[in-house]
């Protein structure tokens, strides 16, 4: 398969170019993440009004919803990177996917933990088999499988390709899993109301949520680029640019 | 005609060979030499498309093997370290399966091929009941069946007795004289009557 892509696409394929490019973006995303998350935390915890039904426990949504969104976006990103990596045999794309996996898994864990904790005052139990939580749990299993596959191969590039295939298979399955879990949930007494489906939220509530979502995205971008850069260094440790860079640092 | 251009292979951070170039024409034999671990098997696997850890290009006739794999694979017979034999199938069933894989394994009948490797009368014995040497011979019976122009053989003479080795050498000579190509590795002193054997020593290639 040969498709001609714009020049920047092939530049991204060069490890050194990607390393430098991400190095330029990194401080910007780090600053933005710090600012947005700082503002979002204070806004959500202190200045947003309490919910008339749930009181203050609803403040958990400011960390739950963004992590749930990120957990899914991260999987999409991994799938896109894996696809690019497999089609164009692009090492950098595989490394991006590999670096994203643990971040995605930790976002899923945050979403699960905060969702479960929120459930205690709302539903009266630490864990409820609610459709969204269950889908999240399965997403975590998918992440765990992919991470396990990466580490099972002694040859890193084979591991990356294997995990890329699995990621794409997982991507195809996610809609089916979601649909089946929702179906299953409606059969067994659905939860009366969920963390996210709420009647029209006032701006004092969704504005801080928006800030938090943006903050999470910036934080994710920062972590992803930093991890990718490090992985690039490890993988290219024989090449002249990495050796030059190390000599500079020492 | 098989052409190799700028072939490099690196495994586990070790360069096995770099910028390898050669052309093998019809009627030629290429023997790959080198110590254990010098990359002989890796080179053969790369030439068969069984390894992707390499850089460079391989051309069969004029076509890049990477672009037209089926055209190339149709012409290629590979005998590797593994016998490629199912233990619970009989010699005949194994060879018949190989024939479904390779349409060009049609030069003679299976019975004739088994007779040639001295396994006449064993065709309906499951392979697990055969000795290691006999299993090897089942695997090598492919060479009698083969009408493939290109043979790639990895240590074809292991587990064979003197007579068996001699027969296989003659078979290779016959194949090459008929316009075939053969690439092989072997520890044997290997000579073919009135055929020039080209040699490629991987130990002498890597300078670093």
């Amino acid at each position: 398969m040969k498709i001609n892509m714009p020049r920047w696409f092939y530049q991204l394929a060069s490890p050194k170019w990607s390393y430098d490019f991400m190095g330029i973006l990194l401080p910007w995303f780090a600053t933005a993440a710090l600012l947005l998350l700082g503002v979002g935390f204070v806004w959500g915890l202190v200045f947003a009004p309490p919910d008339y039904q749930q009181g203050n426990s609803y403040r958990i949504i400011f960390i739950h919803v963004p992590s749930a969104i990120l957990a899914q976006s991260c999987f999409m990103l991994m799938a896109v990177a894996s696809g690019i990596g497999l089609v164009w045999k692009m090492k950098v794309a595989h490394i991006v996917a590999k670096s994203a996996a643990p971040i995605g898994a930790s976002m899923t864990i945050i979403a699960l933990a905060t969702g479960a904790i929120w459930g205690k005052p709302t539903w009266g139990a630490w864990w409820v088999w609610d459709a969204r939580l269950t889908s999240m749990l399965i997403l975590l299993f998918l992440y765990v499988g992919i991470i396990a596959l990466y580490s099972a191969f002694s040859n890193k590039s084979s591991g990356e390709q294997a995990a890329a295939i699995l990621t794409l298979v997982g991507l195809v399955n996610i809609p089916i899993i979601k649909y089946s879990v929702e179906w299953w949930n409606t059969l067994h007494q659905p939860a009366t109301f969920t963390l996210t489906k709420k009647p029209a939220m006032p701006p004092e509530m969704w504005l801080p949520l928006l800030v938090m979502v943006l903050g999470y995205y910036c934080f994710f971008a920062f972590l992803l680029m930093a991890r990718t850069r490090l992985e690039l260094l490890e993988r290219e440790n024989k090449s002249s640019w990495v050796i030059a860079l190390i000599n500079e640092k020492i | 005609m098989l052409t190799v251009k700028d072939l490099s292979c690196e495994r586990d951070d070790r360069v096995l060979f770099e910028r390898l170039n050669f052309t093998l024409r019809a009627g030629e034999v290429l023997q790959i030499e080198g110590q254990n671990g010098s990359g002989k098997t890796s080179l053969l696997r790369i030439l068969c498309g069984l390894s992707s850890s390499f850089e460079g290009d391989i051309f069969w006739q004029q076509d890049n093997v990477h672009e037209k794999p089926t055209v190339y694979l149709r012409q290629l017979l590979y005998v590797g370290h593994h016998a490629g034999i199912k233990a619970s199938l009989t010699a005949e069933e194994n060879l018949r399966w190989m024939q479904t894989l390779h349409p060009l394994l049609n030069r003679c009948s299976i019975t004739y091929a088994l007779k040639q490797v001295g396994l006449f009368g064993y065709e309906d014995v499951p392979c697990y009941a055969l000795s290691a040497g006999q299993q090897r011979r089942v695997s090598l019976a492919r060479l009698y069946l083969s009408a493939h122009p290109l043979w790639i053989l990895d240590e074809p003479f292991t587990a064979l007795d003197k007579k068996g080795v001699l027969e296989k050498e003659l078979l290779i000579a016959q194949h090459v004289r008929g316009g075939g190509l053969c690439i092989l590795t072997t520890h044997h002193d290997f000579d073919l009557p009135d055929i020039a054997v080209r040699r490629l020593n991987l130990d002498l290639l890597v300078t670093a």
Partner: protein
Amino acid sequence: MGYFNSFSDFLDMGGHALYVWLSYAITLLIFIANILSLWLKKRAFFNLAKRHAKREQRNS
């Protein structure tokens, strides 16, 4: 202070202190763990490179 009358009110979170603060603590912990692991891996990489460079120097 925002929607809370006092700091102790804020800490109490209308009786939901345990849930709210536990959630935020877990989230922060995971954030910090991510950054920390990154930093440790980076340090390990450069330490290894440093040792490697020293060995090369001694050998040459």
